[in-house]
């Protein structure tokens, strides 16, 4: 996906042969093909015999979230406006608004509603845009922030 934060070529460079681990005689490539959307997403019409609803039908024909960088762990919660208008929303949009009374991650929406991750992302982005969900995204640089890491350590240490 076209993440603005992507590190670019770094993700696609060929492996340095000297770094191949013992016992591996082949090429180890961990790089990425960014697309995570099914190729049929761009089709004009699904074949009539399509066995299941295609993801793009659920997303109004769009294959990308409005903000494609919405993280899978980003927390969303339904706003009062979302609660008020839930009955007027259709299908998955309504399901999400009902589901997110308590804050949950985008990945949880996908898991609990049986949606593909990319679809959940698009739908949640719609609802955020419409003011029906409020979102809290991960803090940039949290992984390099000692204060946050120390809090996570303390929290884990409390587990017995």
């Amino acid at each position: 996906m076209a993440l603005s934060t992507m590190t670019g070529d770094d993700d696609r460079r060929p492996p340095d042969p000297s770094r191949i681990r013992p016992y591996v005689d082949g090429v180890v490539e961990v790089s990425g093909q960014p697309a995570e959307y099914p190729p049929e997403a761009g089709a004009v019409q699904p074949p009539p015999e399509a066995p299941a609803v295609r993801p793009y039908l659920l997303t109004g024909g769009r294959v990308r979230p409005l903000d494609a960088s919405l993280e899978i762990e980003a927390q969303v919660r339904t706003t009062p406006a979302g609660q008020a208008d839930a009955d007027r929303l259709a299908f998955e949009h309504r399901d999400i608004v009902v589901l997110c009374e308590q804050p949950i991650a985008i990945a949880e929406i996908a898991a609990r509603l049986g949606l593909h991750l990319s679809v959940a992302r698009v739908l949640a982005s719609d609802l955020i845009e419409a003011g029906y969900l409020v979102v809290r995204r991960p803090e940039a640089g949290a992984h390099q922030n000692k204060k946050i890491i120390e809090r996570v350590i303390r929290g884990l240490q409390a587990i017995s």
Binding site: E29, Q33, L117, S160
Partner: protein, 201 residues
Amino acid sequence: MDSKPFLEPGPEEPARPQPPLPVKIVVAGGFGVGKTTTVSVISEIPLLTTEAAMTEVAAAIDRTGHVPEKTTTTVALDFGCITIDDEIKLYLFGTPGQDRFGFMWHDLTQGALGALVIVDTRRLEECYAAVDYFEHHDIPFVVAANRFHGKLEHHLDDVRWALAVSDETPLISFDARHRRSVRDALLSVLHMSLAKAEYPG
């Protein structure tokens, strides 16, 4: 990265606290090494699974050197979470460690505090892709050998040699079935993260 919310809480919801701040640790490793057990034993919610459909580039792992071939595959992502305090929620994402799934790792690892790479010492090669990835992307990680049936098949020194990880990379053994053991493995990851982190401001 701009992590500002799309929508600031408006005046219509003055009293509600904002949603928790999510942080994450990636749990990687080959099939059957104990990722699912590891996540579920410590998660406060029952393990969740989501499927991500994606285009798979099979070429890179094709040792016969044939033409790149794209197919669509579905990858299951297992995850759980732990409430850390009144603000922070830690997510644990268990991801297939195979190199052919590497393309989904950007999404998974972006902003991760670190990674736990679980190995089965009988099948070390299954974690090479994960180890490579985390090294190349400078993501703090710990290699954790799961003690199947309470024992390791190989000495940890031998495992270190076979994986060719740096001496700074912690290599531990743990038991995925026990919460405290998993907790300690995750704490090892966080101590690695801490070493690379700074106080803000």
